[in-house]
């Protein structure tokens, strides 16, 4: 066992020394390989993190959301809608919500501005107070402690006392949240006193009746657009799978290129390499030593590429918000103005990724060696 280990160490040393002779070629191979794993791992990390966030967000989402449409575009829902919906049979927790997006020039960030949900007393706010999300706190760190200063879209300065900061959670929704009282909200966005709601949310007493309720609402409020939780879920799924599909298609192209590259590297066993194998055999190396040496070559390159690719993808997705993939996977930004994903990795996916990359590559380097490795070494005498 000890000599087996020592033997493998020598083979690894040899293969590293040999690989260093073709620095450019091997660096290029490593680069292409790592890039492929980087893309693959980025998609996997990004997709699964988004799905997880979406699932968490949906958990708290209302069963039915009602919006008003004017000329086919989203508009504020009139205040009377609230009463009409409250009187509908089967509807519960009917609530008007006021929320909007706001770009803060001072910090260069997008905020989601909202009035506190009526059914959560610990979020209740008096005019002049605010509750902010964790990422906003981080952005403003050290400045105006205890106070949130905002320049409203119409140019008025707002000074709100920070009542508390929301705890840092994995929820996408809360990170960039600014809660303010209804009166402040209306003034902030220059809305009239009688303005209605951005949308109206409700729960349904009996889940099986969602379809019936939707139908009833449409009849009661002909200009309303009704969105169910199932609709949102489907949208998410569609966006994710469609976008992932594009990326995976691109990736399969990259994979084919890589396969050709690997095959070329492997099968293009030059006369020089063949002779080298002959020399090693003549000097007393066994076929198994040659194969082990080549195995280490393939395995080390794969492993290095895997580690570089996965580490790069991890940093890319979780520290740089998937900047490279964002243009392709942009679909989700319709649903969220900005996100910051919580680092987390699915082990099974990683193992799968390792298997579908490391093993084929290592095999691809080994197979063509086989023939050269089993031939008699007397050719080196020629």
């Amino acid at each position: 066992m000890k000599t087996w280990l020592a033997r493998q160490r020598y083979l690894v040393d040899f293969t590293l020394a040999a690989a260093l002779r073709r620095k450019g070629r091997n660096a290029m191979l490593l680069g292409v390989y790592a890039l492929m794993i980087f893309i693959l791992a980025s998609v996997i990390f990004f997709g699964s993190a988004l799905r997880r966030e979406a699932a968490a967000a949906l958990q708290g989402a209302p069963e039915v959301t009602v919006q008003n449409l004017v000329m086919g575009r989203h508009a504020l829902a009139p205040p009377q809608w609230l009463d009409k919906l409250r009187h509908m049979r089967g509807a519960r927790h009917v609530q008007g919500r006021l929320w909007g997006y706001f770009y803060d020039k001072a910090t260069g960030a997008n905020y989601t501005v909202m009035t506190p949900p009526a059914d959560k007393p610990d979020y209740a706010l008096k005019p002049g107070e605010t509750i902010i999300g964790a990422s906003i706190k981080r952005l403003r760190d050290g400045r105006n402690l205890g106070w949130l200063m905002l320049l409203s879209p119409s140019g008025k300065l707002f000074k709100l006392k920070i009542k508390r900061t929301l705890p840092e959670t994995s929820e996408l929704m809360s990170a960039d949240l600014v809660l303010m009282a209804r009166a402040d909200f209306l003034r902030f966005f220059s809305l009239p006193e009688g303005a209605g709601f951005t949308d109206i949310s409700m729960q349904v007493r009996n889940r099986n009746e969602v379809a019936k309720i939707v139908e009833k609402i449409s009849r009661l409020l002909p200009t309303a657009r009704v969105i169910t939780r199932a609709d949102i879920l489907r949208t998410y799924e569609n966006v994710f799978s469609w976008r992932e599909g594009i990326v995976l298609a691109m990736l399969s192209a990259a994979l084919v290129a890589f396969a050709i590259f690997a095959f070329d590297k492997a099968s293009g066993l030059s006369a020089g390499e063949r002779r080298e194998i002959g020399i090693l055999k003549a000097l007393g190396w066994e076929t198994s030593d040659i194969l082990a040496m080549k195995f280490w070559e393939g395995a080390l390159i794969s492993l290095a590429a895997f580690i570089i690719g996965v580490a790069g993808a991890y940093a890319h997705v979780f520290f740089f918000d998937a900047g490279v993939l964002a243009p392709v996977l942009k679909g989700w930004s319709v649903l969220y103005p900005r996100i910051h994903l919580t680092p987390s990795v699915d082990r099974l996916q990683l193992v799968t990724l390792a298997f579908i990359t490391i093993i084929p590559f290592t095999a691809a380097t080994l197979v063509p060696i086989w023939k050269a490795a089993i031939t008699d070494p007397d050719v080196v005498m020629r």
């Binding site: 000890k2 000599t3 087996w4 280990l5 020592a6 033997r7 160490r9 020598y10 083979l11 040899f14 020394a17 040999a18 002779r21 020089g272 002779r275 080298e276 020399i279 090693l280 055999k281 003549a282 000097l283 007393g284 190396w285 066994e286 076929t287 198994s288 030593d289 089993i374 008699d376 070494p377 007397d378 080196v380 005498m381 020629r382």
Partner: protein
């Protein structure tokens, strides 16, 4: 002692390009001596060397090393015999390009998995002995012909084999270097090693260090001269 018993080697047997390189060769090669295979080009000297050195198997016939048959061993054992019993100095030296001199010398020991410091020390001592210590870290492709040959000899000796096999060792050397090679052969013989050399070169087969000259012709042994 190596004994060959009616050894025949046919390349590409049964094909149109079939070549009978050796025919019914029977020969005894003594231990602790210097044996030279001579003869015209194509007479089968190199082929005989590859069979003796376990680099290939004969088509028929037996080869024994110290009484043990080595001509029909599985590849795994053949490699072990090569590694432990024979040191090879090839005509074209066959150093591995791009690797350093000392790495080249150590290569035959890798499959044995020896202690690294010990191996390095042995390789260093061999290079010292061949006046190559200062070139240990150089790549082999910058070496001169004579230096390459000495590296090849050092490499052949790293596992301390009983038999040294050299194919046309002086083909590319001038007379000074050929003389140097013969000096090294003399030292090895004094150290008790057995040496087999193929050569056209009369500087070799006329040298006084040579004990046995096997004259070959057309795949057969014409004469065996013991001195």
């Amino acid at each position: 002692m190596i004994e060959l018993n009616e050894v025949t080697k046919i390349y590409n047997e049964g094909q149109p390009n079939e070549v009978v390189a050796l025919r019914d060769v029977s020969l005894t090669i003594p231990e602790g001596r210097v044996t030279v295979f001579k003869g015209p080009s194509g007479s089968g000297k190199t082929t005989l060397l590859t069979l003796v050195g376990c680099l290939a198997r004969p088509t028929s016939g037996r080869i024994r090393l110290d009484g043990r048959i080595i001509s029909a061993l599985p590849e795994h054992f053949m490699a072990a015999v090569r590694r432990e019993t024979f040191g090879f100095v090839f005509q074209r030296f066959n150093l591995i390009r791009g690797l350093s001199v000392i790495e080249n010398v150590m290569i035959p020991a890798y499959p044995l998995g020896p202690d690294y410091r010990g191996l390095r020390a042995r390789a260093g001592a061999l290079l010292e002995r061949f006046q190559l210590a200062h070139k240990a870290r150089m790549k082999t492709e910058v070496l001169s012909g004579g230096e390459s040959q000495r590296v090849a000899i050092a490499r052949a000796l790293i596992n301390d084999p009983q038999w040294i096999i050299a194919d046309e060792p002086t083909a590319n050397l001038d007379s000074r270097l050929a003389g140097q090679f013969l000096d090294e052969v003399r030292q090895l013989k004094q150290a008790g090693k057995s040496i087999i050399i193929t050569s056209h070169d009369e500087r070799i087969f006329n040298a006084d260090v040579v004990d046995v000259v096997v004259d070959m012709e057309d795949g057969r042994i014409a004469t065996v001269e013991e001195r």
